[in-house]
Amino acid sequence: MNEFIEQFLIEARELVEQGTDDLLALETRPDDRERLDSAFRAFHTLKGAAGIIDFAAMARALHAAEDVLSAVRNAAEPVTPALIGDGLSALDQVLQWLDAIEATGEPPMDADTAADAIVARFAGMPAAPVEAETVQPATQAWLDALLTAFPDAGDRATVALVYRPAADSFFRQRDPLALVEGVPGLLGLRLTPSEAWPDLDLFDPFTCQLTVTALSTAPRSEVEQALQPVLDQIELVDLSPGLPGGPPVHQALLEAQILMLGVADADGLSGRMASAARVCANLLRNLDRAAEIVPVELALARSLDAGNAAPLTAAIRALIDQPVAPSEASPALPVPTPLETARSLRIDVERIDALVRLTGELTVIKNAIGHLAGQTEDGADAKVLAARLKDQHGLLDRLVGEFHHAVLSIRVLPLRHVFQRFPRLVRELGLSLGKPVELIVEGDETQADKAIVEGLFEPLLHVVRNAVDHGLEDAGTRAASGKPPTGQIRLRAERRGEHVVIEVEDDGGGVDVARVRQVAEARGVATAQTLAALSEAGVIDLIFAPGFSTAAQVTDVSGRGVGMDAVRAAVERMGGRATIVNRPGLGAAVRFTLPFSVMMSRVMTVEAAGQAFGVPLEAVIETVRIPRDSILPVGAAQAFVLRGRTIPLLDLANTLGTRESARHTDDAIVVVAQVAGQRVGLEVDRLGGRMDVMLKPMEGLLAGMRGVAGTTLLGDGRVLIVLDLQELLE
């Protein structure tokens, strides 16, 4: 069932997103029927999906929500903010369950309490009214409902019973359910009100108003025995395979055709009759009773002529009643087996294959080292042995690095996992602060390592809180600056080179630098002297300093005793940086620049000063040859003009400080790249091909080198240094 769990996770996340979108839209336009329908469907489909993976608690919780949405939909009432809030909470709970399933591969065992809480939230709201069992046209409507309610029991049941206890049963010292409890081989039970329930105020607790229907696997005689005292109030129907209709599924299906034909509606009647006849013919064929098809088809012809289902109904009734023993060849329907639940998550086959291949290579090295150990014992030449050991070590080193990355690549997740929780949070923040806020999420498909995705929630939450609380101005100020009353928070993710950049941007007033100076001085974060020496950006950066934000300053929304220093610390723990981009009057953005730790990159190889470099392909715009005399000195630097645009030119070897490259004589070979929105030309000695490389974390000498994303081994044994252009040019 692995693939079902996998598909479930994908689909459920989409549905949660859809449901959240719809509910948030309904908040703005409570009368939007399309959104309401869509929200209803999202809950409904989620419930169905939960059923398929046997996650009963989730199905139960969503059922409660769906009931209330359905009632609102049927009553054509507007949606209340309370309902939206409860719906969003339910979806949030679903997300937490999804995370748990993703982690363990199976539905959590302890979900019942949370499900109860959701059911309770919705229990206070008016749900769709419970309709009393409507009287159906055919005599055995109860049997049909019973077999429908227990589709899996139909094959095993031998007897179906309906017990309509007399209204005065209780006075006669009868307890109908106790009698039914005594029925052997009970498979399923249905309780229906004999008539629509009266109001509780008018309810007579001593009148029996229930009808009981049940399925049993016991022989009819035993069932009759158990119900002896009340047999006059009971109807029994044999379902045993030896009887006319064949196996129970077949009999139930024949009954169902009669019920369908019983619907008094001329519209589509001939179609319904034709399909009923076709189903009967199929059943007979399936039972190896094809000879009996002819009467059914004749009856259909009469029914179609008359525009009346009666002849066909009679023919089907005859099939059920006619005592024809099923032929020997009649195929027995298999007993359904319970669903298997999943135990694990599926991982891309390619990723597993990579691990298998690497394991094979490791085995080769293990054998080689074993061989070398043997030679040591035999007294082989130490120098030769040392050289070979070193070779093997080199191979092992490369493989370990690849293994590391192969394992990491299993851990990649889209940021949607963490972003998904914010629409509801932002809505609640806005409500509690009395600020209308709209959240815009961009790039949530961007992938990052699982550890990063999972570690992002806390710092992001804090930053988003701050943005709503401090970033966005109050309605009056916004109006005065000509901004729309609803504030905007953008939550954005983007892959930039070897990094994943995540930004929380508000369209508020921006950082008040003077105020930051004041606060920093008042709180002793920096002295007046230091402050005077700091640039504006330096001052803004103080927001991240320990002691800058304290509980006294922040409101109950932002204040959890956590300052922006904790945010920066969290981001740095993940190997990233946190910065603020300020646009006075227009807003501010907090930016996390995080490593994308699975370093599978497409690069273009180039050569400079005899060294092979990889330039991330996503940054490369084009390669050009520039005549030396077209290169212009700009101060100490150089530039060239390409299609009317002046582009700074850097010598790659110089920039890296590898060594002074030799004076070039002919045209400069230039890679034009886009870095942080700017075009830049990198002069290289030679252009290579394009390749996919798996980066190794940097070690030894290279570890301290700026502008290097990592290294990888080329086929010819040389080391390829993959550049991080953004860092290189900073």
């Binding site: 598909q7 059923g51 309610a149 619907v263 034709a274 399909s275 076709r278 199929n282 059943l283 399936n286």
Partner: protein
Amino acid sequence: MLTPSSTNGRRRARVVDADKPRVLVVDDASLVRLYYRDALEAAGFQVDEAINGLEALEKLLLAPVDLLVVDVNMPRMDGLTFVQTLRRQPMELASIPVLMTSTEAGAQDIAAARAAGANVYLVKPLAQETLADYARALSGASA
């Protein structure tokens, strides 16, 4: 069933499966479609999918099937409307057996499915074996 255009390559590929009964699963939830496909293919059916009633009608007009497995609640065209529409088509289409499934178990839901023209109505979740049993019985496929 061979179609007149069976000389072209794509059609010929279909002839290979001509012995298999064909079923169209109509459900907006991809998980449900996957789950049904898995069960029905194992039971020897050739399975096609549609995500709502409209798409199902379009597919049926191109090539009728031996059985329809239809969900009730779907966007654009729900299952009840779809089956009602189906039953008004020419006999070749109108007579296709319909197995309707839904999470709703109320008497009024069953009655609505009947009135629309569903041959049988089963409550989800449905064990794969059960679906396969009903599908074989309804389509006349040998077990």
